[in-house]
Symmetry: C2
Subunit: 214 residues, 2 copies
């Protein structure tokens, strides 16, 4: 007579499957509480497995986080570069980028939260990855912002720098606001962004007024 509760031993889950399952759960938990505030035991419990299994698969808490971060950043950067490659310019490009991000995060927002986790470790692999992710996004943002500033005749390097920082956080705050309102469809949020940009710039989005993306 075997107990209904299996106490140890294989559960017949293949290594690759288990790995994916852990990554998905870990991403969700890291996304909710942040790296610093979640323990490996939390993740193990959420995944219905034991702590050593995680160490067996990922080596360390940082290693696990790094994998989540890698998935998150490649998902986001991939989407944003795809939107950029669409060829839209200015305001339209900004809206297309936002729309792409909303769609790719629909019903699975943890990649955004993980990629923007303020409690992520600064050193080692996660820190490098985070830095690379930020630099790439900033690069893309800088393009669009540069066009906008050039139009106004402003060519100060620090102005461009500051404006890029501002645009990045605008983009980020729209996505974060949407993440905090679960159940709102991507199209609905995209429409909202269009309205808001229209209200600020006083133009309709098909105008080729230059506005940053990314």
């Amino acid at each position: 007579m075997t107990s209904s509760v299996r106490r140890s031993g294989t559960k017949g889950v293949a290594r690759a499957d288990r790995e994916q399952q852990i990554l998905e759960v870990a991403g969700r938990v890291f996304g909710e509480r942040g790296f610093a505030a979640t323990s490996v035991a939390d993740i193990a419990a959420a995944a219905g497995i034991s702590k050593p299994l995680i160490y067996n698969y990922f080596g360390s808490k940082e290693g696990l986080f790094e994998r989540c971060l890698r998935e998150a950043s490649s998902l986001l950067i991939g989407e944003i570069e795809r939107s950029a490659a669409l060829g839209a310019v200015g305001l339209a490009r900004a809206l297309a980028t936002l729309d792409g991000v909303f769609r790719v995060l629909d019903d699975r927002t943890w990649p955004w939260r993980v990629a923007n986790d303020p409690t992520a470790p600064v050193a080692d692999a996660p820190g490098e990855l985070m830095g690379a992710y930020r630099r790439r996004l900033e690069e893309l943002a800088r393009e669009g912002v540069g066009e906008l500033l050039a139009l106004s005749g402003a060519d100060d390097a620090l102005d461009l720098d500051a404006m890029t920082a501002v645009w990045s956080t605008v983009f980020g705050s729209l996505v974060t606001w949407w993440c905090d309102h679960p159940g709102m469809a991507p199209e609905e949020m995209s429409a909202r962004c269009e309205r808001l940009f229209g209200a600020v710039f006083g133009v309709s989005p098909d105008t080729d007024r230059t506005v940053p993306s990314g």
Copy 2:
């Protein structure tokens, strides 16, 4: 013959003075590394005293942080309300508010960093304080944003909500960017903000175009 290194016992510093000194040092360290990443021992070392003295004065790590946060939020909210009371409207009010914050933080930016520390505890007194600070700022921001949206005929409650979030982060990112560029004079940064707003809105600041503050 007394040793040149005093090992324990009073150093002749009055309680009130010591308290102020610890608060200033703690604010700086909390501001640099964030609440979660700084230990009480770090602060003690930076202040040149021992850990128990901090507990004697402030009861707990959270208690110490709460005092720093209290000072920071009252400084910032005080300044922002003062700017609001100046009576400027729209873009001019936004610029006046930014200018006030730059001036009050000049050469002492930790209050901003502490008040915006993403690793601050969410529960208990610090959490309450942080929440109150955020709500107050949001209230002020909502005023100006509401005017702007009303102009465009947009009256959706969630639009207002999202736009308020965006404006708050724009404000925040300008201040944070400035904090990350030490040595830049408040007037210089204010001028920069004016240029940037001009580039975005395509208007000069004395236009009474409605734009949020706070």
